[in-house]
């Protein structure tokens, strides 16, 4: 059991949590957060697969792919966030698929 696998499993766990959140959460912002978690999990798996195991060298191709992925992910996130705001504005509803109960917006307070 090397530390390499820690990160693999960690990435998998992030992926699973993100997927669960993406499907289950009712608020679109949380859905987008969950999707970001998922992609982070995927990136983690990609990079931890690229690390050399002592004698082999680091594989830079997954690093480049992850860099591309990060940029793609921030682009989609930005579009999604603007869409969420617009949908909320024009329809007065924040929730997409599920019950319309509003989440607790208020922070505990400061």
């Amino acid at each position: 059991m090397n530390t390499l696998l820690f990160y693999d499993f960690s990435g998998l766990a992030l992926l699973a949590i993100g997927l669960h959140g993406l499907i289950r959460s009712s608020h679109p912002l949380r859905k987008i957060l969950a999707a970001n978690l998922m992609t982070s999990g995927v990136f983690l798996i990609m990079i931890s697969g690229a690390r050399g195991t002592g004698q082999t060298m680091i594989d830079p191709v997954p690093h480049a792919m992850v860099l591309t992925g990060i940029v793609v992910s921030v682009s989609t996130t930005a579009v999604a966030l603007v869409l969420v705001c617009l949908v909320q504005e024009t329809t007065n509803r924040a929730l997409l698929w599920q019950k319309r109960k509003r989440e607790k917006w208020g922070r505990t307070d400061g």
């Binding site: 922070r107 505990t108 307070d109 400061g110």
Partner: protein, 87 residues
């Protein structure tokens, strides 16, 4: 890497994890925010430690970017939490 560096890094990481509890518990938004700022600082410190310990200069660049972006986050937090100029 000598044990001094690595154990100091580990200690800082544990400090971060302890700080997570503060974010979760709150009770106020300011508490969460300050805990997150603490993370930024600890992160910079860990990176600098690793940079010295592993003699890997690149990490200093990362620490620099960390510090700059932490300031941005602080401004964003502050404006969000206390009204600020943006409406």
């Amino acid at each position: 890497m000598s044990w001094q560096y690595s154990s100091a890094a580990l200690f800082l990481l544990l400090a971060i994890v302890a700080g997570l509890g503060r974010i979760l518990r709150g009770p106020t938004a300011a508490d969460s925010m300050l805990a997150a700022q603490l993370f930024g600082t600890c992160g910079v410190a860990i990176l600098l430690l690793l940079a010295r310990g592993l003699e890997w200069e690149v990490l200093q660049d990362i620490a620099l970017v960390f510090a700059l972006l932490a300031a941005l986050a602080a401004v964003a937090f502050a404006l969000r939490t206390w009204g600020g100029t943006e409406r």
